[in-house]
Point group: C2
Chain length 201, copies 2
């Protein structure tokens, strides 16, 4: 296979390591970047260089934020007795966009994954139990806002066992049919969950 010019190939290789970027997308991106004006490329370079400098993890919830404590943890109008556990800062943002949640968060920084070697020590779990044990105000409910996939379910199972003795209400996001779904094409588990979780009208 013919390689591209060295400088392009090394950019392709690096882009290819990023999540969700396959070899073809990496090539397309690299050639797009070659064609950018020097100013545009410099802008991208600067954004990359500065991204880490401008953020830190919030000392309370662990989300990436410009301030610590982050605006959510520092907001006295939110319900600090309700704690939503999410994997990443993006998940927190997704829940915030619903405008349905007024409690605070705890960002684990990932989910348990034996295949990629992510264990409980790699996640912000100590700080989670700490917050629940010593919370002021006392935390009354922990909502697991994790993806309903193998890793998410494993993490929920693990945390449920860990937190059960702490006498706090544990809940998880409902599973069911998403908006616009088609019963005919829904998988059995989702449809079964939607049936079990049916609501009275």
């Amino acid at each position: 296979m013919p390689r591209y010019a060295d400088s392009i190939q090394s950019l392709v290789d690096l882009l290819n390591r990023l999540p969700g970027i396959g070899p073809k997308s990496a090539e397309r991106l690299a050639f797009h970047i070659v064609k950018l004006s020097d100013d545009e490329r410099e802008q991208l370079v600067r954004a990359l260089q500065n991204v880490k400098a401008g953020v830190k993890r919030c000392s309370l919830c662990g989300q990436w934020s410009g301030a610590s404590p982050c605006p959510i943890c520092a907001n006295r109008n939110r319900d600090h007795a309700q704690l939503c556990v999410v994997a990443e800062t993006q998940d927190l943002a997704a829940i915030e966009r619903t405008h349905e949640y007024h409690g605070v968060y705890h960002v684990l920084g990932g989910v348990l994954n034996p295949l990629t070697g992510v264990t409980s020590e790699d996640l912000n779990i100590n700080t989670l139990t700490n917050r629940i044990e010593k919370g002021n105000p006392k935390i009354t409910e922990v909502i697991f806002g994790l993806n309903p996939d193998v890793e998410g379910e494993t993490t929920i199972l693990y945390l449920t066992k860990l937190l059960r003795p702490l006498q706090v209400k544990l809940t998880r996001l409902a599973r069911g049919l998403p908006l616009g779904a088609n019963l005919e094409y829904a998988d059995e588990v989702t449809l079964g969950d939607a049936l079990k979780g049916r609501r009275t009208l």
Copy 2:
């Protein structure tokens, strides 16, 4: 909608402008980049900064290459009488990977697209007619290796009209069923083309 910390948001916005990167992928990439080690991020930054410096457009075919003329144009073992016209350097690489083509290339640098304002002046068309008119050895065949989509077809139509008076054989890539295709799901145009272009066994 809550914005992320400024430094993350500006990286998300810039990544979102890249081709094939939607708002969600941009967020995911930005947070991945935040989590990279300083070394890894620095590597990416350097690859971005250096990508343009290490390449130029080949003065003959117009592909991005470390040298001009590029290794293909400089290769005396290739058939310089056969010219394959492609849109981008990546398309050239795709054809090279087939090991079926031994001629040379001409990279247009895009295709005609009235919607995004790409006109014939923006493409390497003058150099193409020039090569065909003054080619040494004389170019005997021009193969259009362009995508079979609206823009590609428009460009083929335009170039066919332009090159017809130059008395050179004009061909295009065959249209038909791709490997592993399913007749039942093939669109009518492709199936019709496969029928018209059927081969004697």
